[in-house]
C-alpha cells in the first residue's frame, strides 16, 4: 500500500520547468475530532489552495493537499494526511524542487504536547516538530515557509528554525492549547483583500502573518474573549520567534517580506527589469525615488512637519508620474 500511495502522490506533483523559480505549496489538514472542525479545516485548506492557484498563479501541479478523509473531496485531496504520506510527499518534493524554489508547507488542524514535545495531530501517529525538522533538512538550498496553524505549536519555532526558513506558528508556546483561529485569517490574507499593505499587488509572508495576527486579536476582542493564541514568526534562524516582526526594528521579518506565493515566471522577488532602454531607465528612476522616499520617512521625526510633507509630496508626485509612464509603455507593449 505504501508504494501505491507514494506513486499516487508523486503523479500529482508534475515536474516543473527547471529554469523559472517556483512556489510549491503543501497543505496538510490534520485530525479534526469533530464535524465542525473537519468543516473548518477543509474550508480553510481549500480556500488557500484556490487562492494560490487562481489568484497567485501557483500551478496545480505544484500543490499537494493531504487531508483526514480523502473521500470528502477526492478531486482536490491527494492523499490521506498520515505520517507516512506526509513524509513521502515532502521527500518527493525535496527531490523535485528546483534549488532556488520556494516551498510553503501549511499545517491546519489541532496540536498537542506530550513529553514536552509539540505535535501535530494526524489520523494515525502524530508528527512532532523533530519529525518535521528532519524532513526539512532535505531542502538544503530551497527557501522554506513553514506554517503550523495548530494549537500548542510554539515549539516548532526552535525546532525548525534555520537559514532560508520562515517559521510561523499560531501559538507562542505549547501551553496555548485552546483551539486556534489563526489559519482562518492566514488564509484570508491570501484569498481576500486587506493584507497587501504596501500595495505592490502581492502578499508577502510577512504581510500575511501580520494580517492574520491582527485579525486574530480583533476577533477575540469582538467576542469579548481573552486572547489565548499569540502567533510567532521566526526567519532569522535564531530559533526565537517574534510576535510583531518588523524589518525596520526587529531581526525577524526580512526574509518573510521577500517571500510570495507565486506562479512560475512571476517575479518572486521585487525586481523590475527590462531590455527596453526607456523602461529600464524608468524602472531605475522609480527605484531611486522609492529609496529617496524610504530615506525621507526615516528622517520624519527630525524634520519640520510641513517641510517633510512638502518634500514627500514632491517625491510622490514624481513617482506617480514615472509609474504612470511605465504603465503606459507596458500597456503599449502588450
Amino acid at each position: 500500500m505504501r508504494t501505491l500511495v507514494a506513486l499516487a502522490v508523486a503523479v500529482s506533483l508534475v515536474a516543473a520547468p527547471a529554469a523559472a523559480q517556483q512556489s510549491h505549496l503543501v497543505v496538510v489538514s490534520g485530525l479534526s475530532g469533530e464535524a465542525r472542525y473537519a468543516d473548518a479545516f477543509h474550508e480553510w485548506a481549500v480556500t488557500l489552495i484556490s487562492a494560490a492557484q487562481e489568484r497567485w498563479g501557483v500551478p496545480e501541479s505544484n500543490i499537494a493537499f493531504l487531508a483526514e478523509r480523502t473521500e470528502r473531496d477526492p478531486e482536490r485531496i491527494d492523499a490521506r494526511s498520515t505520517r507516512e504520506n506526509i513524509e513521502t510527499t515532502l521527500e518527493t518534493l525535496a527531490v523535485r524542487a528546483g534549488a532556488e524554489d520556494h516551498v510553503f508547507i501549511v499545517l491546519i488542524g489541532h496540536g498537542s504536547t506530550s513529553d514536552g514535545e509539540s505535535k501535530f495531530n494526524l489520523p494515525g501517529p502524530d508528527m512532532t516538530a523533530t519529525d518535521f525538522a528532519r524532513l526539512l533538512d532535505a531542502f538544503p538550498t530551497q527557501t522554506i515557509c513553514f506554517v503550523n496553524a495548530a494549537s500548542a505549536s510554539g515549539e516548532f519555532v526552535p525546532a525548525l528554525s534555520g537559514g532560508r526558513r520562515a517559521i510561523i506558528t499560531a501559538t507562542k508556546t505549547r501551553l496555548e492549547r485552546n483551539e486556534t483561529v489563526f489559519a482562518a485569517f492566514f488564509v484570508e490574507a491570501y484569498a481576500g483583500d486587506g493584507a497587501d499593505v504596501d500595495k505592490d499587488q502581492r502578499v508577502s509572508v510577512l504581510e500575511a502573518f501580520s494580517y492574520a495576527s491582527r485579525e486574530v486579536a480583533r476577533a477575540y476582542e469582538d467576542d469579548g474573549k481573552l486572547l489565548t493564541e499569540h502567533a510567532l514568526l521566526d526567519d532569522d534562524g535564531d530559533g526565537e520567534g517574534t510576535e510583531e516582526p518588523d524589518p525596520q526594528s526587529t531581526s525577524d521579518g526580512r526574509l518573510a517580506m521577500t517571500l510570495f506565493l507565486a506562479g512560475p515566471g512571476e517575479p518572486v522577488l521585487a525586481a523590475e527589469t527590462s531590455s527596453d532602454p526607456r523602461l529600464a531607465a524608468l524602472y531605475g528612476e522609480k527605484r531611486d525615488l522609492e529609496q529617496q522616499i524610504a530615506e525621507l520617512r526615516r528622517q520624519k521625526d527630525v524634520l519640520d512637519p510641513e517641510a517633510y510633507d512638502q518634500r514627500l509630496e514632491e517625491l510622490l508626485v514624481e513617482l506617480a508620474l514615472v509609474t504612470r509612464e511605465i504603465r503606459e509603455i507596458e500597456e503599449a507593449q502588450q
Binding site: D193, D198, K199, R214, E290, E313, L316, V317, L319, R324
Partner: protein, 888 residues
C-alpha cells in the same frame, strides 16, 4: 458551743441539699426561671411573660425574674409594662441596684434620656451585677447627646476591661464589642477587635443571641451582606420572632437589592409594633417608593414611642424636605441638633434619601454638612464624593471618596468607584459646547463620530418639545465594561441596566459592553438625555414612572422602531391582571412583584404618556412636569392638569389598551395548559395550530417548525397568520424575519424588503435584519434605502470594518459625501490592517466632497505607507490637477 455550730452547719447543708431536689419549691422556681428564659430566648414571648410574671409575684426579690419579665415585655413592644416591671422590683428591693440598668435601657428607648442616665448611674454606683453594661449604656447615651469626646474615652476604657484578663461574661464581652465598634470610627482596625469580642461572647454563651445580632449589624454596616445574612439566620433559627434579627434581614435584602425587604420589616413589626428602627426603615422604603405621606406616618409612629429618636427625627426631616415642607424640615432638623449637636447621621441620612430620590445636588450639599459637623463621618465623605461625581464634579468627588475610603476601607462601593476612577486616565474626553463625551481611548475615535451628533440632535429636539434648555455642558460617560457602568449606578434602586442619568451626567454602556443586538445605544442615549431634561424641568422632582414613561415615549418619537415594544408576555400579563394600575405604576419600578414587571412597567408607562398626549394634547405632558415641580402628588397632578381622577384615568387607559390591542389580545391563550416539566412536542404544536387558527403563539411556533423542516411554502401560511394576529410583534422569532427569508428564496425581493422594513421599523435591536434589508434594497437598486438600513444598524453595532466600508460606498453613490467621509473615518478608527487603503478611500471621499485640502493631506498619508500604491498615486495627480485647474 462547738456541737451547736456543727449542728447548725449540718442543718444548713441539709437544707441546701434538699433545695436541689426536684419538687422542692426552690428547685421548682429555678426550673421555671430557666423555662421562662428559654421561652424568651426562643421567641415564645407570651409564655415567657406569663412565667416571669408569676415568678415575679411569688419571688419579688428575684432580680432574674424581674429582669426577664421586663425584657419579655420589651421584646414585644410593651415598653410601658417593661418599665413598670423594672420599677416594681426597684420599689420592692430598695437595697438592690440590680434592675437599674434594665430600667435605664427601657427609659432610653422611650426617649426619657435624663431618667435613663440617672438609672445607669444608680446601677454603676450600686455595683450591680450588670454594672459594666450600665457603663456602656451611659457612654452610648452620652455619645447620642453629642458628648462625643467623653463617650469615646469611656469606650476606650472597655479595652482596658478586656485586657485586664478578668473572665468576662457573655453579656460583658458583648458590651466590650459594642464599645470597641464605636471606636472603629476613629480607627477602622478596631472593628476587627469588636468582631473578636462578639465571637468570644458567643463562645462564652452560645444561647446568648445578642452578640450574634450585633455581629450581623456590624457586618451589614461594613458592607458584608453574606456574613450578615448568616448571622441573622443563625439568630432566627433559634428565635424566629427576634424582631431585630428580622429587621436585620430586611436591611440586608435592601442592601442586596432583593425583593421582600418591606415584608420582612413588617414581620419585625408584627412581633414588636414599637420597634423604632423598623418604623424608620419602613419610612425609608416608602420614601423610595415616593409615598411621602405613608412614610411620614411611619416616622410619626416611631416618634410616638420615642420622641427623642434621632433616626426617626432624621427620616422625618428627610420626608418633610422631599415633600417641600420647609417648616417641617427645619423643625425636625432643629430638634435633632438640640438632642445631639454632633449628629452627622442626620445629614448622611438626608443625603442618602435625597440621592435615592434623584436629588443629587442636594445630596452632595447634605453630605458636605455631615462632614463639616463630624470629620470622622466617612459615610458622609463617601456620599459627598459619589454625588459630586454624579453632578460632574469629578476631581472634587474623587478627593472626597479617597478621604472616605481611608477612614473606612470596608466601603466596597467607594472602593469600586475609586477603582473605576483610576481607569478614567484611559478615557478620552471629547469636548463640545454642550457635551463632554468620555469614552475609552480604544474606541473614542469611532464613537465620537456618532455620539456627539446624536446627542446634539436629541438636545435640539427635546428643547423644542419642552420649551426648555437643559444646563450644559452635559457629561456623557460611555463604558466598555458593563461592570464599570454598574459601579456608577450603585445604591440606586429601580434603575434600568443600560444607562442612567443623574441630570448633568449620563452614564451608559458602550455598544461594545454588550452582545450584538443586546441593546440600541442610540435610543438609550436619547432616553437618558430625555431624563436630563425631565429632571431639569422639575428640579428632579418627577416620579419614576412618569419620567421613565416619558423617556421611552421620547425614544419612540425620535426614530421609528426605537423604544420598548409590546410583547406576548406583556399582553398575557394584562389579561392575567398582573399589570399595575396607573396609580400604582411607581411600584413597578421600585419594588416589582415579579422580575418582568419592571420591563412591563417601562412599556406601560410609555403607553400612558402616549394616551395622555392623545387625550389632552402634547402640552399636557409638559404641564404635568411643571405640576410635579411644584410639589404636587400624582393624584393632584392628574386632577389639576388632566382634570380627572387618577383611578378613573387608569380605567380609561385600560379601555384604550383593550381597543388598541384588540386583535393580539384575542390571539393570546394565557390559559392554555402546557405540558408539565417538558416542552410541547411538534405534534402538540401542530394540533394547537390546526385547531385554533386564532392562536398567535401556536401559529408562530408551527411556522417555525415547518421552516426548520424546510417546508417553506407551508410555513409561510402559518407565519402570515401569526403576523396578521399580532402585527406589532417583531421580537425573537418574529414572522417578519422568516417571511423575508422565504420571499427572498422565492425570488420576490420586494416582498422580502417589505417584511424586513416592517420588522426594522418595530425592533430597534435587530442588527441582522437591517443588514439583510440593506442587501435586498441594494439589489433592487434602492441605494438610499440600503444606506438608511445600515445607518440604523450603526446604533446597534458599529464595530465592523466591512460594514462601514459598504455604507461609505453607498453614501458615495447617493452623493451624501459628509456621511461617506464619516464612514471612511470610522473604518480608519477601527485600525484596519490595510491602513493605506483606508486612508486612500478617505482621501477619495474628501475628493468627492470637493475638499481638496483634506484629500491631499490624506492621500499623502496613504502613499507614505505604500508609495507604490498606484490608485492613490492616481488620486494624488488628480488632486493636483484640480488644484491647478488642469486635468492632470
Amino acid at each position: 458551743m462547738r456541737p451547736a455550730v456543727r449542728s447548725g452547719l449540718a442543718l444548713l447543708m441539709m437544707l441546701a441539699a434538699s433545695s436541689l431536689c426536684a419538687g422542692h419549691p426552690l428547685a421548682q422556681a429555678q426550673e421555671r426561671l430557666e423555662a421562662a428564659e428559654a421561652a424568651l430566648r426562643t421567641g415564645r414571648y407570651d409564655e415567657a411573660i406569663d412565667i416571669f410574671s408569676d415568678l415575679a409575684q411569688r419571688e419579688p426579690a428575684s432580680a432574674r425574674a424581674a429582669r426577664g419579665r421586663s425584657r419579655a415585655y420589651w421584646a414585644v413592644g410593651r415598653y410601658a409594662d417593661a418599665e413598670r416591671a423594672a420599677q416594681r422590683y426597684i420599689a420592692a428591693n430598695a437595697g438592690s441596684s440590680e434592675l437599674w440598668n434594665t430600667l435605664g435601657e427601657v427609659l432610653y428607648r422611650r426617649g426619657k434620656r435624663d431618667e435613663a442616665a440617672e438609672a445607669f448611674e444608680r446601677a454603676l454606683a450600686g455595683r450591680a451585677g450588670d454594672a459594666l453594661i450600665a457603663r456602656l449604656n451611659l457612654a452610648i447615651l452620652r455619645y447620642d447627646r453629642g458628648e462625643r469626646a467623653e463617650a469615646l474615652r469611656e469606650f476606650d476604657g472597655f479595652i482596658d476591661v478586656y485586657n485586664r484578663g478578668r473572665r468576662l461574661s457573655s453579656e460583658e464581652l458583648t458590651a466590650v464589642g459594642t464599645a470597641v465598634a464605636y471606636l472603629g470610627a476613629e480607627e477602622w482596625q478596631l472593628y476587627r477587635d469588636a468582631l473578636r469580642a462578639y465571637d468570644e461572647a458567643i463562645a462564652a454563651d452560645p444561647g446568648n443571641l445578642e452578640p450574634r445580632v450585633r455581629v450581623g449589624e456590624l457586618f451589614l454596616d461594613k458592607y458584608n451582606s453574606p456574613d450578615a445574612a448568616q448571622s441573622f439566620r443563625d439568630v432566627l433559627a433559634v428565635n424566629p420572632n427576634h424582631a431585630r434579627a428580622l429587621l436585620g434581614m430586611a436591611r440586608r435584602m435592601r442592601f442586596d437589592g432583593e425583593p421582600g425587604a418591606f415584608d420582612m420589616a413588617r414581620r419585625a413589626l408584627e412581633v414588636n409594633p414599637d420597634l423604632v428602627s423598623a418604623r424608620v426603615f419602613l419610612a425609608e422604603l416608602l420614601l423610595e417608593l415616593e409615598e411621602h405621606d405613608r412614610a411620614a406616618e411611619e416616622a410619626e409612629r416611631a416618634l410616638e414611642v420615642n420622641s427623642a429618636s434621632l433616626e426617626a427625627l432624621s427620616v422625618l426631616a428627610a420626608i418633610r424636605y422631599l415633600q417641600g415642607d420647609a417648616g417641617g424640615f427645619e423643625a425636625a432638623r432643629r430638634r435633632v441638633l438640640e438632642l445631639n449637636p454632633q449628629y452627622a447621621e442626620l445629614y448622611t441620612r438626608l443625603a442618602e434619601l435625597s440621592a435615592r430620590n434623584r436629588l443629587y445636588f442636594e445630596a452632595a450639599e447634605f453630605a458636605r454638612q455631615a462632614v463639616e459637623l463630624d470629620h470622622t463621618s466617612w459615610r458622609g465623605y463617601a456620599l459627598l464624593g459619589i454625588n459630586q461625581l454624579r453632578t460632574g464634579r469629578i476631581a472634587e468627588g474623587t478627593r472626597n471618596l479617597e478621604i472616605g475610603f481611608e477612614g473606612d476601607p470596608f466601603d466596597i462601593w467607594t472602593k469600586n468607584t475609586l477603582d473605576l476612577l483610576d481607569t478614567f486616565t484611559e478615557y478620552d474626553e471629547v469636548r463640545g459646547e454642550r457635551f463632554v463625551i468620555a469614552v475609552d481611548g480604544k474606541e473614542s475615535e469611532l464613537l465620537s463620530l456618532y455620539f456627539a451628533d446624536l446627542a446634539e440632535e436629541a438636545y435640539d429636539r427635546l428643547s423644542e418639545l419642552y420649551g426648555f434648555r437643559a444646563s450644559t455642558p452635559i457629561r456623557i460617560e460611555v463604558y466598555r465594561s458593563h461592570a464599570d457602568f454598574s459601579v456608577r449606578t450603585v445604591g440606586l434602586v429601580g434603575m434600568a441596566a443600560l444607562g442612567v442619568s443623574f441630570g448633568p451626567v449620563i452614564a451608559m454602556d458602550s455598544p461594545s459592553a454588550r452582545e450584538i443586538g443586546g441593546f440600541n445605544w442610540g435610543s438609550t442615549l436619547w432616553h437618558e438625555l430625555a431624563h436630563t431634561f425631565h429632571m431639569g424641568i422639575t428640579d428632579h422632582r418627577v416620579p419614576r414612572w412618569f419620567s421613565e414613561g416619558l423617556a421611552v415615549y421620547e425614544e419612540r418619537r425620535a426614530r421609528p422602531g426605537w423604544g420598548d415594544d409590546v410583547s406576548p408576555g406583556y399582553l398575557t400579563a394584562y389579561l392575567q391582571d398582573r399589570l399595575l394600575p396607573v396609580a400604582e405604576l411607581n411600584n413597578g419600578f421600585m419594588r416589582p412583584a415579579y422580575p418582568e414587571q419592571l420591563i412591563f412597567s417601562y412599556y406601560e408607562a410609555s403607553l400612558v404618556c402616549e394616551f395622555i398626549e392623545q387625550q389632552a394634547g402634547p402640552r399636557a405632558l409638559v404641564d404635568m412636569l411643571l405640576a410635579y415641580k411644584n410639589g404636587m402628588s400624582t393624584p393632584e397632578v392628574f386632577r389639576t392638569v388632566l382634570n380627572t381622577d387618577v383611578d378613573d384615568f387608569g380605567g380609561q387607559f385600560f379601555e384604550y389598551m383593550d381597543e388598541r390591542f384588540a386583535v393580539p389580545l384575542s390571539a393570546m391563550r394565557p390559559d392554555r395548559e402546557m405540558p408539565h416539566g417538558r416542552a410541547p412536542t411538534r405534534e402538540e404544536i401542530a394540533e394547537w395550530a390546526e385547531s385554533d387558527p386564532g392562536d398567535f403563539t401556536a401559529q408562530l411556533a408551527y411556522g417555525h417548525i415547518l421552516f426548520e423542516d424546510e417546508r417553506h411554502e407551508e410555513a409561510a401560511v402559518y407565519l402570515e397568520r401569526a403576523k396578521a394576529l399580532f402585527p406589532e410583534y417583531a421580537g425573537a422569532g418574529s414572522p417578519y424575519w422568516y417571511l423575508a427569508l422565504i420571499y427572498k428564496e422565492r425570488g420576490l425581493p420586494r416582498r422580502a424588503a417589505d417584511e424586513l422594513t416592517t420588522l426594522t421599523s418595530i425592533d430597534e435591536r435587530d442588527y441582522q435584519a437591517n443588514l439583510e434589508l440593506a442587501e435586498v434594497l441594494e439589489a433592487l437598486g434602492d441605494r438610499a434605502g440600503a444606506a438608511a438600513a445600515l445607518e440604523r444598524a450603526i446604533y446597534i453595532y458599529p464595530y465592523d470594518i466591512a460594514f462601514h466600508a459598504r455604507l461609505a460606498e453607498l453614501y458615495s453613490q447617493t452623493g451624501e459625501h459628509d456621511r461617506a467621509i464619516r464612514e471612511r473615518q470610522a473604518v480608519l478608527s477601527l485600525a484596519p490592517v490595510d491602513r493605506a487603503n483606508a486612508l486612500f478611500e478617505l482621501a477619495r471621499a474628501y475628493y468627492e466632497a470637493d475638499d481638496m485640502t483634506l484629500a491631499r493631506r490624506t492621500v499623502l498619508r496613504a502613499l507614505e505607507i505604500a508609495p507604490g500604491f498606484e490608485e492613490a498615486q492616481g488620486l494624488l495627480l488628480e488632486i493636483r490637477a484640480r488644484n491647478s485647474g488642469g486635468t492632470g
